[in-house]
Subunit: 488 residues, 2 copies
Amino acid sequence: MNSLLNKDYLNAEYKPVDKTNKSSKILENMDSLFDKLDLKDGAAISFHHHLRNGDFVTNMIMAEIKKRGIKDLTLVQSSIFPCNEPLVPLIEDGTIKNVITSYMSGPVAQAISNGKLKGTLVMQSHGGRARAIMEGSIKIDVAFIASPATDVHGNISATEGSAFCGVLGYAYADSIMAEKKVAITDTILDYESKTEIPSERIDYIVKVDKIGDPNGIISGTTKITKDPVGLRIAQKTVEVMVATGLVKNGMNYQSGAGGVSLAVTKFLGDYMEANEIKGGFASGGVTGDLCDMKNRGLFEKIYDVQCFDLKSAEDIKNDPNHISMSAEKYASPYHDPIVNGLDFVILGATEIDTNFNVNVTTGHDGVIMGGSGGHQDTAYGAKVSIIVSKLFQSRIPLIVDRVGVISTPGETIDVVVTERGVAVNENRKDLLELLKSKGINAMTISELKELQDSIIGKPEKQQEKERRAIGYMEYRDGQVLDVIYEAK
Amino acid sequence: MNSLLNKDYLNAEYKPVDKTNKSSKILENMDSLFDKLDLKDGAAISFHHHLRNGDFVTNMIMAEIKKRGIKDLTLVQSSIFPCNEPLVPLIEDGTIKNVITSYMSGPVAQAISNGKLKGTLVMQSHGGRARAIMEGSIKIDVAFIASPATDVHGNISATEGSAFCGVLGYAYADSIMAEKKVAITDTILDYESKTEIPSERIDYIVKVDKIGDPNGIISGTTKITKDPVGLRIAQKTVEVMVATGLVKNGMNYQSGAGGVSLAVTKFLGDYMEANEIKGGFASGGVTGDLCDMKNRGLFEKIYDVQCFDLKSAEDIKNDPNHISMSAEKYASPYHDPIVNGLDFVILGATEIDTNFNVNVTTGHDGVIMGGSGGHQDTAYGAKVSIIVSKLFQSRIPLIVDRVGVISTPGETIDVVVTERGVAVNENRKDLLELLKSKGINAMTISELKELQDSIIGKPEKQQEKERRAIGYMEYRDGQVLDVIYEAK
């Protein structure tokens, strides 16, 4: 019921206001901030990862928290990078008890795989994170938003300031749902034009020396492969794509940030240019190379949830066809997100099983070195999801009986392209027929596995050791997809 | 607590998904929509007024509701215009029981003033409406969003489609907080660039023939006065503004849409041009004339919650310095909104009392003909709020002992400028001194009233008739500001 319809308005008394006494959100320093926040043991705090491996904010805030002796925190950080190494001792001493993230690499991932986390690890997709926050499955007490710039009211810009990162797509949900929202920035403007997060979502602003190192935005996963085998797989993938008949005007496309995936994007662009094909949109985490393709007219628009490099962050400043989006708009399992409009997504894998379940979370040693990110979301959304990978590397096979951690469920993966053959999911008979009719020798994944095993030999059955569960991989819709175990 | 940390994940079972079975938000027709909505008697439904007097959507939806016999509804419409005349019989027959709005003119206002509403009338400011929706004091079951265009996912654009209105600032809160959100549109695009309301806020899309008449966006209140007395007041107002010392580079400015207020804007622009002053931002409901001033370099930016005419809606399409904003960002009593950055706001009044309380809700006959809109919000926010009005008209006085409805509380009004004199609020001694030092003969409002009464005579004490309360005027922070009575 609408409470304002039930007021005893005839007997209400009005208390005058004082317009000369307006409060500013800008706080003097961290002490004033933590006084206001009154953060308690057991609270959940969130961070985004748009500054990627150049982020200073998470470490800075966690050091303040450690100083104040607050403990048993749940860290809700959209991704964790090697630069977050200073969090390791805070995990070990119980300052951080639980971790909820979509991607992890580096010392924190290693420490958690080694069983250092006292509580639970939950890994999600980018869309699943947004869904969980918006529906309240994750409750955040304080969102600390690394803000390249903000105006005096708290309108946050990602295209101004020295650590501009272009987009803040992963911080939107936090900014709507967290109990308290703090902009941590090194640049306060009078007023700004391109607002990523509007002032009504921000409670406090704290200015610090530097929120990050802009050069750290470029992370190692976003370079095109130079390996000839990888390039051959990429060429083959474009052939498969063309064979589906979907490479045509208006095609919508995304690729992951792995080296082979990026090579597919390049070769696809060459094909489109040669055949005068103009795509609709490209989406995802966005590289400067993808911006070049848009600027050459190969795609009409880019929908961008995260800039992978400075060139991309530069491009979004001025081109209205380079459009920022929230993680929800991008990939939420509800609300028909942008990923549902994709014709293709090109993705990597460390392992895949004969049910097409994909692992991008742990390496062959069982140590966490990644996570779903948008993998789950785009595999579900795209008409054709394609895994590109070498069939084996140093005698370590791609195709296994059981992947270490199911990161993306097999029923959403359509095709696997390797240097030795292409496998099509049996639930996509339409695709199988199509590829065969175009002369592409597609096989079942079991056949591809047999081929693989015939070359490198069947791996010896490892003695299954009892391992301790440390958390789980969540599917984007909230289901438990798989258990994550301590490594070795 | 975070529910996803407490899952029995070791024993959870995963149920595979079907990616070939995605649902679209686009519904076939109104019948499918109302089946989905399952709207019950007593529900609250909301509409925005960006199509102003050219809106077709409210009437169309209410006719569907009437057809289905749903009744006792609370109508949460940001403003109501003469085009909403078809709602009068629905008020009379109890289809609409309560009305919550920020502005009303025309037959609906007349009918409600005549006591036709069975429930309660609540009138709010634009900022107050956003606050009430966001905090849950208004609970909306279904928000029907008149959408100039939407893409297939439900990303709503206000700059494409034939009834483009530029901005949808008053619909943001509804789109976040309503239980169900429906885009009513006449234009469905594959993909669009300039999103006003993102797809994650939209549940359903229904296509209709026409959502409105673009020419109706220009409403009668947004024309500059031609009356020489009005022009004299406007000139005087600019003198007062200059005397405060705040007319300088970086000045932030807003005016209401009344004829004299718009004349102030024009003369201020002339003064700024002649004196090479470049303002910071102009804000508010925005006219094409204001866009011209920006384009001439007199203001750096425009923050726009609503376009008052097609020229303004055209201007925002392409200029990144013409920035759309939500009602919350504009005017919420919390979160340090844009209005708090204003140096000046120029506003109208039908009546003002000797405590500076202003009525813009009812006419001298007690019939509702307006409402606060942003009046309360900007009066509070601006360093100097100025009421511009003739001191009397056809022997009807501006200054009265008690205004019909207090729409904006006196403690937030700083100056009154009339053709016969300027009054300064006694709580602004700083301004009084400043004006006097610049040779402006400012007086108290009691002195100005005496002057007024000495010319037109003291009005005869009317026999106070017992009148029925029909609702109340809410202050932006949620307080009851005044009671609204039935007219005559």
